[in-house]
């Protein structure tokens, strides 16, 4: 219980630090990401903060490394999770914002071995939802009048995708092993996810002014 109290206190402190304007919010976000991954599905190095001298106030949190930023996080029980998040602190009064994010789970090494992908774009460029889910599957053969569009190409609108939500999905429904028992990670993820969602921008499920005539899809 004492250990859990300590983890919860740390989770609250890091969550609060993410919402304090200034440059330390980037490192706090990175620390928070690494902490929840360490408690749950991460196997080895989990997340890195990536900066660039030519773009101040902007950073990435990625699952990869310097030599391969695109490398996914290896999960304890096999499979992998791509985590790629773009952050800035140019919003109102310098608060931290997620600009874009990608969470993709795969069970193999091949390009088509992905199972699902959550994407978020603060400023989408086409008619698809700013926050959406794609699934690498197919509608069952017996279903009448099956959509012409392949299932992986359908962008299902969702609320703001969270890393916590992805982790819960992996552990609760996809059999991914967790490093800590549920009695530890569930309360911690509840704290961090609530803190994020209480402050997160919630996008519409589609654009309000997209010109269909420019659509090539």
């Amino acid at each position: 219980m004492e250990r859990l109290d300590g983890l919860l206190a740390e989770a609250r402190q890091l969550s609060e630090a993410c919402h304090i304007p200034g440059r330390d919010c980037f490192a706090a976000f990175r620390d928070l990401t690494k902490r929840i991954l360490a408690l749950t599905v991460a196997h080895g190095t989990s997340a890195s903060l990536v900066g660039s001298p030519q773009r101040s106030g902007r950073a990435l949190v990625v699952s990869g490394t310097r030599t391969d930023p695109y490398a996914p996080l290896r999960l304890r029980s096999g499979g992998s999770l791509v985590i790629f998040i773009s952050l800035d602190n140019h919003g109102d009064e310098g608060y931290l914002r997620v600009i874009e994010s990608k969470f993709q789970y795969a069970t193999g090494e091949g390009k088509d071995d992905w199972v699902f992908r959550y994407d978020f774009l603060r400023s989408p460029k086409n008619r698809y939802p700013a926050a959406h889910l794609q699934i690498n599957g197919d509608v069952l053969p017996g279903v009448p009048n099956r959509p012409e569009r392949h299932l992986p190409d359908i962008h299902f609108p969702v609320g703001r995708p969270t890393l916590e939500g992805v982790i819960r999905l992996l552990i609760d429904q996809l059999g991914v092993t967790s490093n800590e028992p549920a009695s530890v990670w569930r309360p911690v993820l509840a704290v961090t996810e609530r803190s994020f969602l209480d402050n997160a921008h919630q996008p519409l499920s589609g654009p309000d002014d997209y010109d269909e005539s420019e659509d090539s899809n």
């Binding site: 980037f26 990175r30 990536v50 900066g51 990435l60 420019e214």
Partner: protein, 110 residues
Amino acid sequence: MRSRRFWTRTCVQVPGTERPCILVGNAGEAEDVKYRILKQETTGSDFVLSRDEVVHFIELKARAARNMSGSQLLHAFRSGRLENAGEVAEALIMADLLPDDDPLLSGGAA
């Protein structure tokens, strides 16, 4: 000054001088005081990418996934013509490390 979580060693040039100097401290210090940043190194797993490195990684994903240049990929995305953008989202997100007036974003050469 070394913090527990994240510190940066930055090679900078003070405006009006010729000799570069080294700052050891939080990542924001060098930019906050308007030094010209020559090189940066960070602790732990964190890292800093130069423009050439950012462009390299964008090109890598664009060529491997869509057989097009990084510039073509970014231009297609910004004009709303990029299909299945999520497949190459890493390259699009990587481009967020470039300034808005970077030639790669305006359709110029990498």
